[in-house]
């Protein structure tokens, strides 16, 4: 069995308390392998369908700025923990499609992604479909996907802070 050297790790993350374990794990793998860590955030604006609103251009821009800000926080935290090479990628559109595209385009060897939670919050993936999606991702992108089980969020976790 040959071990493929890891040069780039993608951490697909939405941020917030539920992403805490995913980010921790990605940082740990990056530190262990010395690979470049890329945080990846997809800005999907499907929720705007709830608001009958025409001026989406400005709103998209604002959402993009917010996503960028959140990614900058993650990058700072990773650097503070000793990751030498870290950056972020921000895209807009459908999360599944963008994840697939990224897996193929970047040539990263590892992707770290959080599993859907059992909480009542809206998830991008349902637990049942997640495994099939990950299998497709590994096959199409020729990479290894590390799935992280999110830690349960306590009320006090929500009282402050973003990720570790």
């Amino acid at each position: 069995m040959t071990t493929v050297p890891i040069r780039q790790i993608i951490c697909a993350v939405r941020s917030g308390p539920e992403s805490r374990e995913t980010v921790k794990r990605a940082i740990a793998v990056a530190l262990e392998s010395g690979a470049k860590l890329t945080f990846f955030h997809v800005m999907d604006a499907e929720f705007l369908g709830y608001a009958t609103h025409g001026t989406l251009r400005v709103v998209y821009h604002e959402l993009g700025e917010m996503g960028k800000f959140v990614m900058l926080i993650l990058c700072d935290r990773a650097r503070a923990r000793g990751v030498a090479q870290v950056d972020y990628l921000l895209r807009e559109g459908n999360v599944r499609t963008q994840l697939r595209k990224l897996a193929i385009e970047t040539g990263a060897e590892v992707m770290v992604i959080g599993r859907p939670t059992k909480s009542s919050t809206k998830n991008l993936f349902k637990a049942a479909e997640f495994d099939a999606f990950v299998a497709d991702l590994e096959k199409e992108g020729n990479l290894r996907v590390i799935q992280v089980e999110p830690a349960p969020i306590a009320e006090k976790d929500l009282q402050g802070g973003l990720v570790p």
Partner: protein, 603 residues
């Protein structure tokens, strides 16, 4: 003109690469064509409206055609709520049977005149019928017949038509409930849900009535009479103004300025953000305010190391509460103002003190509810705050200055326009046009900023609610509420406020408010003391503040939840209910106290 077009085409071509020229030009022409088509359609609608006679055509003779001594029967037709019934068919029929000898329709005030021919029969009956009502026959007495033969007119007492509940009644009710259900579940876009309702109503009317006459609901022309074009044009005008303002970066600047003024004290930041968001929502609209304030609020919270929901939730609650202090602050106020002819100043003077009281209560509630989040946190990050300061600035100062002047002029017209019978929709359109002419923005971009989906939504909702009104559902609700409250003003106020508040948490408040308007109109005419339009103010308070009770209660809630979720802080239905429902009790309670003080105690 042709030279100008040629010059414009040359500019376009120069801006494009050689390979792109024709495809690019075609795309631009297509876009322009679509835009022109849309504008033409809109102007067409306006033209039709202008040219459409406002009054129902009466099939009687003009007074100049009447000879002295012409036999005439006059009267009026009304429903049980003493409202005029328009376009009821009235016919004078010989009691022995046979064809009517005279026919007519009731006017908008419910009156009719039948001009009878000479040679009247011994007995004559006046038959009155209208779709969705039971038929009534009034037999003329021999004295009446005698008067008519002598050439003296006969005036009959007002005739009351009773509603009939046929298949059309039940089908319309089902369609209305289905539309509300589709909106509440979020399975369909609100506009699509409303359009499905409209299509179903017409399908039943046009395809069903040839098979069974009692399936007829209304025809296209009658349906359009229910659309309030004052509302549509007011919303459209305000959309254009907002489209200009939101590009200037003023929302982001306001949010960041709030942080700066608070000096990093979170409790103060929360109070300032709630106040700023509230005032902005009153002058623009809640959804735009939250769409543009929420992302930067999330960033401020993260930079301060605190849970963004501690700022976002109170912010959206304040937005929904303060919006009702002006005519243009919420779509429900626009509906109420147009229907009840309440001016901008009317909302301002009668509701703003109560709204400020409610906002005060809401700030206290927000501080208490999020006391832990406001007290804890990882500490502010100087780097992140520095990054934020670069974003929190005005990006188009010149445009903002111009928009400020036009906005101030519009505000003055909104306030004073009522004295010269200037409709708010006219003020909004004039203001929007002036702003466009002054700033000269990319017209295509500006027209894209007009949310046609919302305008179609409103048109469709007016038609759906019109159908419910047409078949009599609203009359039954009005009668029921009238019976419940009796003649008691306080009871009526409480019923309207709290019914609105409770129902707005579970159903979309725009169709709800539209449906409640005639009900409140009926109560206002019946309950002593309600002629001050107090019940309409109660409806404004209930339907808008009630939206804070659940995630689906207001569009602003949904977009805020969407933005929070994108930052990794989801707002679930249960979470919103937990934080929002007590807020409804606090704010609606305080607003109720104000309304009772203003209209009952002070009079």
């Amino acid at each position: 003109m042709i030279d100008e077009i040629r010059a414009q085409v040359r500019v376009w071509l120069a801006a494009l690469g050689p390979g792109e020229r024709w495809s690019g030009l075609r795309a631009r022409v297509r876009k322009q064509f679509r835009l022109s088509l849309l504008t033409t359609a809109l102007l067409g609608i306006c033209l039709v409206l202008v040219l459409t006679p406002r009054r129902v055509r009466i099939e009687g003779p003009a007074s100049s055609q009447l000879e002295v001594g012409t036999a005439m029967v006059m009267g009026s037709v009304q429903n049980r709520q003493e409202q005029a019934i328009v376009a009821a068919e009235v016919a004078a029929v010989p009691a022995a049977g046979g064809e009517p000898i005279a026919e007519g329709l009731t006017q908008t005030d419910g009156r009719y005149i039948l001009v009878l021919p000479k040679g009247l029969p011994e007995k004559l009956t006046v038959e009155i019928r209208r779709d969705h009502y039971g038929k009534v026959a009034v037999e003329l007495t021999s004295a009446d017949i005698g008067s008519l033969r002598d050439g003296r007119p006969v005036v009959l007492p007002p005739t009351v038509l009773l509603r009939s509940r046929g298949p059309a009644f039940w089908i319309t009710t089902l369609i209305f409930l289905a539309v509300l259900g589709l909106m509440a579940t979020g399975k369909q876009h609100n506009t699509l849900a409303a359009l499905v309702g409209v299509a179903s109503l017409f399908a039943v009317s046009y395809l069903g009535s040839p098979v069974r006459e009692d399936l007829f609901i209304f025809d296209f022309r009658s349906a359009l009479l229910y659309v309030d074009w004052n509302v549509i044009f007011l919303i459209m005008g305000m959309m254009i103004v907002i489209a200009v303002v939101e590009e200037t970066g003023v929302f982001q600047w306001l949010a960041f300025k709030s942080y700066q003024i608070s000096g990093g004290r979170r409790w103060l930041l929360l109070a300032i953000l709630m106040t700023v968001t509230g005032i902005t929502s009153a002058l623009l609209d809640n959804v735009t305010t939250m769409l543009l304030m929420a992302p930067i609020t999330v960033q401020i919270a993260l930079a301060l190391g605190m849970n963004p929901l501690a700022l976002l939730m109170p912010e959206v609650l304040a937005s929904n509460v303060f919006g009702i202090s002006t005519l243009i602050g919420t779509p429900t106020n626009i509906l109420i103002g147009s229907y009840a002819r309440i001016s901008f100043g009317g909302f301002l003077w009668n509701l703003t003190p109560g709204v400020m009281l409610a906002l005060g209560g809401l700030i206290v509630y927000g501080e208490w509810q999020y006391r832990r989040e406001l007290a804890s946190g990882n500490g502010a990050s100087a780097d992140l705050l520095q990054k934020l300061s670069e974003r929190g600035r005005i990006v188009q100062p010149e445009e903002l200055r111009k928009a400020g002047w036009v906005g101030a002029a519009m505000l003055a017209l909104f306030l004073l326009g009522d004295r010269v019978h200037l409709l708010p929709s006219v003020t909004a359109l004039v203001g929007a046009t002036a702003l466009l002419a002054w700033i000269k923005p990319d017209m295509e971009k500006m027209m894209e900023a007009v949310d046609w989906t919302t305008l179609v939504f409103f048109i469709a909702i007016f038609i759906v609610v019109g159908a419910v009104q047409e078949v009599g559902v609203i009359s039954y609700v009005a009668e029921g509420m009238g019976w419940l409250v009796g003649g008691n003003l306080v009871l009526a106020m409480l019923a309207v406020i709290w019914t609105g508040a409770i129902l707005s948490t579970v159903i979309a408040n725009i169709p709800f408010t539209a449906a409640m308007l005639p009900v409140v109109g009926h109560l206002s005419a019946r309950v002593p003391g309600a002629e001050t339009k107090v019940l309409f103010y109660c409806l404004a308070v209930g339907s808008a503040m009630g939206g804070n009770g659940s995630l689906i209660g207001a569009s602003a809630n949904m977009v805020t939840a969407g933005i929070a979720e994108r930052a990794g802080f989801p707002i679930t239905y249960a979470y919103f209910l937990k934080k929002g429902a007590p807020a409804v009790l606090v704010t609606v309670g305080l607003a109720t106290l104000w309304l009772l003080l203003r209209f009952y105690v002070l009079g």
